[in-house]
């Protein structure tokens, strides 16, 4: 074996070791979800933790399903995530269009205020936001007022617009040829038509990026829904986890629940990993 193949082999060995480091908790999660509690705890102190050995079954899945309304939690997460992502893509790209292609009074100030919000960590405004939504009116007739707390809209509306999404669209729109906009205007298109028929069709990659970033934020929401939802009918998957830590803790069921809520995201990620990674990379491009 010559030196070159040996160094290549060493490189792969190192890469594989590091890969194991990143992958082992996930393997542990899935394998453990198949084992009864007693065996799970015994195995977790040896390498058997990573092997589906001994008594394996899907029992944990069915009992987790009985303990909490998993279907409901997943449905809630999907509703909240989907509506937020779609509304966000629409409103943020439209605002970015306005910032890039239109001249209006106060634009510079408005834009710099929006970009300044990027440095405010959400956790620092969570409590005032909670008080604020508590006071806000919501649709309803007199005597039959529906509030904000414990609902879908409290999880959706505050999260639709954010500085990062607008910023990503602005970066992308800036590089599009302005002649297209001019040409469409000469042809008599309204500004909204220029946006929806000329710019949006050209911005596919940027929409994918923004959608993935928003999806990750929304699906993994924890603190905000924890504060604002009380009933099972509106709680998302991450808050649903709490139900497993009340009364007797059954670790096998917890592992089954974690697998149910994580594996779809991982499959989604693995099938679109190029787009995922490209979208993270684009947040690092400084404008």
């Amino acid at each position: 074996m010559n030196i070159n193949t040996r160094s290549t082999l060493l490189k792969y060995l190192l890469l594989t070791w590091v890969a194991l480091l990143f992958i082992f908790p996930v393997v542990f999660m899935v394998v453990s979800s198949l084992k009864p509690d007693l065996q799970l705890l015994q195995d977790s102190s040896s390498f058997r933790a990573f092997l589906p050995v001994g008594e394996t079954s899907l029992n944990n899945y069915s009992s987790a399903w009985e303990r909490v309304p998993i279907g409901r939690f997943v449905f809630n997460s999907i509703v909240v995530t989907a509506i937020t992502v779609i509304s966000s893509l629409f409103l943020c790209s439209m605002a970015a269009f306005s910032f890039v292609f239109l001249e209006f009074k106060g634009k510079a100030v408005l834009l710099s205020v929006i970009l300044a919000t990027l440095i405010v960590p959400f956790e620092t405004i969570a409590i005032p936001l909670l008080m604020l939504v508590n006071k806000l009116p919501w649709i309803g007739v007199d005597g039959f007022q529906i509030g904000w707390l414990d609902s879908y809209h409290v999880q959706i509306i505050p999260w639709i617009a954010d500085g990062l999404t607008i910023f990503l669209f602005i970066q992308y729109f800036k590089d599009l040829p302005r002649d297209l906009v001019e040409a469409a205007r000469v042809d008599g298109a309204t500004w909204f038509q220029v946006y929806s028929r000329v710019i949006v069709p050209l911005a596919g990659p940027c929409f994918a990026t923004a959608a993935i970033l928003k999806f990750l934020v929304m699906y993994n929401q924890y603190l905000w829904p924890l504060m604002t939802t009380q009933s099972e009918s509106y709680r998302p998957v991450m808050v649903g986890l709490q139900y497993f830590f009340q009364l007797n803790i059954a670790w096998g069921e917890i592992m089954a629940y974690l697998s149910i809520i994580t594996l779809p995201v991982l499959v989604f990620y693995l099938s679109m990993q190029r787009t995922f990674i490209a979208s993270i990379a684009s947040t690092g491009v400084k404008g």
Binding site: V18, Q42, F97, L102, M238
Partner: protein, 359 residues
């Protein structure tokens, strides 16, 4: 035409920017301003009394510290009193902090930590809000340790991934994978890894040390809990910054590397004089992003330790949420949020200063 154009666009421009801007204003900027306002009041979630303006008192009760040098207790013969366990007996702190007109500035404070001085004297640092101080110190420790380590590991991974090897994308995909998993899920999984009785980490350490390693309850021990959370946070976040380093690496022109190879540069020289200078802006960006994420440390603590044991994993955000939400002390929680925001703001101003020439 040129004159009337901007005027025509005023209406449509605002119309298209308004929905998103309005939402940001209402749900981000207003709460942000409210946090500032609340931090100067005695606001509670539900209170029979009206909210009052209290000035700086929330802040002074957070960050008030004082020091004191204490002599050991002497008995009637002037000898130092020794406790049964061999320690020196010092006067109780409450002698100074309660109703003592000579030490008015220490009123209501509690002992935070102390250093021994010569002649058995002791230098005591007292804090008005010991819990906040612990949270502040833990958060700063977390940032100071996690930011450079995570940045460095991410760069190492990026350099490994940037090699031209068949199948390298598989490794890139795996290294990035923890980023897409919820931090809540990750925290629960790592509770198993860190468990004191059946934990994976203890099992592995014992295996590799041939049984010499004594099991540790990583999260249940005040000297290891914060470190354990740091390691897990780095594990989860490092893939994100690896990708940002990677996109920085790929902007460095290949001809520079060719030139370096022609000059006979060693691998280290190539990194030192070609790669690193090309990554300077990326480096500043990554440090700022990691620092901001590290300051917002919350979910890991909430799921894994709830601030314990003995407050060793308290953080600013966790304290802010606990006071504001669980204890319904909106004013106290907001004051901590404001302190946190001011820290983050100064860091991003420093970043601006560092990158001022290059943009």
């Amino acid at each position: 035409m040129a004159n009337s154009k901007p005027k025509n666009q005023n209406k449509v421009g605002w119309l298209m920017a308004l929905p998103a801007s309005g939402l940001i204003f209402l749900f981000l900027i207003v709460p942000f301003l409210l946090a500032f306002w609340f931090s100067f009041t005695n606001q509670r979630l539900i209170s029979p009394n009206p909210t009052e303006f209290v000035g700086w008192s929330n802040f002074s009760s957070l960050i008030g510290v004082g020091t004191l040098t204490v002599e050991p207790e002497k008995d009637a013969e002037g000898k130092t009193v020794i406790k049964p366990n061999g320690d020196i007996q010092y006067p109780r702190m409450r002698k100074f902090t309660r109703n003592n007109p000579d030490y008015e500035h220490l009123k209501g404070m509690r002992e935070w930590f102390s250093f021994p001085l010569s002649n058995d004297r002791k230098w005591v640092v007292l804090a008005r809000d010991k819990l906040f101080m612990k949270a502040l110190v833990n958060t700063i420790l977390f940032v100071l340790i996690v930011a450079p380590l995570q940045g460095a590991f991410a760069l190492l991974l990026a350099l490994m991934i940037n090699q031209k090897l068949p199948g390298i994308n598989i490794f890139r995909t795996i290294y990035f994978m923890p980023v897409v998993i919820s931090i809540v899920v990750v925290s629960i999984l790592w509770r198993f890894i860190y468990d004191g009785e059946n934990g994976l980490l203890n099992a592995m350490l014992s295996f590799f040390s041939f049984g010499l390693f004594e099991p540790v309850d990583w999260l249940g021990n005040s000297s290891t809990a914060l470190g354990s959370i740091m390691v897990m946070s780095i594990w989860q976040g490092v893939g994100f910054h690896m990708i940002i380093w990677l996109s920085g690496l790929q902007t460095i022109s290949g001809s520079l590397y060719e030139a370096a190879a022609l000059e006979g540069a060693t691998r280290w020289q190539t990194f030192r004089y070609v790669t690193w200078p090309g990554l300077k802006n990326t480096a500043v960006l990554i440090m700022v992003v990691i620092t901001m994420q590290a300051f917002a440390l919350f979910a890991q603590v909430d799921v894994m330790t709830r601030g314990g044991p003995v407050d060793s994993t308290q953080t600013l955000v966790f304290q802010s949420v606990q006071r504001g939400y669980e204890k319904q002390d909106i004013a106290g929680g907001s004051a901590i949020a404001v302190v946190l925001f001011l820290i983050v703001l100064s860091i991003s101003l420093i970043q601006r200063f560092l990158t001022r020439d290059r943009t």
